[in-house]
Amino acid sequence: MNYRKLAIGALSVVVGGGIFATATMVDLKREPSIAAAIEPFYGIHQNGIEINRQSNATIIAFDIKEGVDKSAIARLMRLWTNDSAELTAGRAIIGDPQAEMAANPARLTILVGYGYSLFEKIGITDQWPIVEKSIPAYSIDKLEQRWSDGDLVLQITGDNPQSIFHAAQVLERDAEPFATVRWQQRGFLDPAGINQEEVSRNLMGQLDGTANKVVASKEFSEIAWAKDGALEHGTTMIVRRIRMNLDGWNKVSTDSKSKVIGRSLENGDLLDSSSASAHQSRAFTQGAAGIIRRGFNYDDNYLADGTRDAGLIFIAFQAELKSYLEIQARLNQVDSLNRYTTPVGSALFIIPQGATKESYLGQSFFN
């Protein structure tokens, strides 16, 4: 039921030393402003993972410049932490050349992560908090360097492509003395206000991420966040660019499409007679710890051969990387979906815990 009322103690007034609070009824059926909505930045976890669907994403990977050392990365992290705190609150940073564009954050979040190559370049591989340095290349992959790997990553997500663009500009500008952009991927889902109660559809028309746990649930927390060690309160992030053969897919009947996935195209329900090679059968088995999927669709013009470069920016978060690796290995063997999809980019990052007002992102690694 969406009939909710919120009684807000209206601003108190100080009169002759006494404080008077009055209660006003505010009808929440009135839509709050999408533009003004603000997501918290400071917290034990970085924001942008355990959050209800945001409509747009810009993911940027950077390579650090020659001569940039650990203390320089610490300076960049202090800059990015401060920038992110301001931008996500809808405030321009001092010296922002497009200060006016900071308004209307629309649930803007900014997430920072690191690749193993960063730890190598600044000589702190002994602090890399997980066993894996990269994820394996799978037989189905046709990876291109221009969509793979990176020393640093920014995931800038929200419900307003304008504020995302602006944030990306500010963060890139402040990174300029330290790093160059390696790749950028932009993605989209249904905008705020459309299908709010459902997961979004990918460009094949499938409901994507049906198996995700509910945000702020115990199950979500257990899958997403590392409980101890150097990555405590952080997680691992997989970014894979999955190009879709939409021309081929469009020739398949609706019924056959559902069978490839093992779920109804209409409502995402599991099909009773799902074949063992259907995507969902391959992707999920009982007992798997699971992953948090937060992918976005992409549509980036046309390739040299005239086919549309469109597909899915597959993004997965998991405290235990092996949860992802097991799922991916099964998909690699026999997945009906493989005929219509080609992974062309792949990257692994670690996501450190969130920042407080007294600390910066990645402080435990770069201090």
Binding site: R4, L6, L11, I19, L79, I94, P177
Partner: protein
Amino acid sequence: MKKVIMVAAAIIAASTLSSCGSDEVAGSAITIENPIVRSVDAMSYKNEESGKYMTGSFMTITNSGEEDVTLTGGQSPVAGIVEIHEVIDGVMKAMPEGLLIPAGESVKLRMGGYHVMLLELSKELKAGDETEMTLRFSDGTEQTVTAPVKEIAMDDEVYGADGGM
């Protein structure tokens, strides 16, 4: 199901401004937030006699106390002289009396407005560096902040945020 949430927001008039910045000093009503220093580039002013550059520093200063406080000056390991300046009609002027931070208010120091001027720089500050500076206030307190050095477009000096083109 009706869900009614009572939120009693009691706000005391004198403390509407938050004072939880990282640079807060115990006993001081002054908070300095987001200090930055403009990097030295081809557009930077240079003292032709000494051959040394000068640059500006910008920040937000909040006075959460009940008394007005004035920013009177400061010092920095990288600057021979630290002064408080303002830009009026595109012309930079020193403020020997200092900059008033009224009780309960925030003052933004920015390009084209009030700023802390670092003169006689001992080195050409580059984007990506960090600089320390200590600012002095009329209530007898001092605060030391670490400010990142960043590229800031010089055009702002003339076409300030409130000025337009």
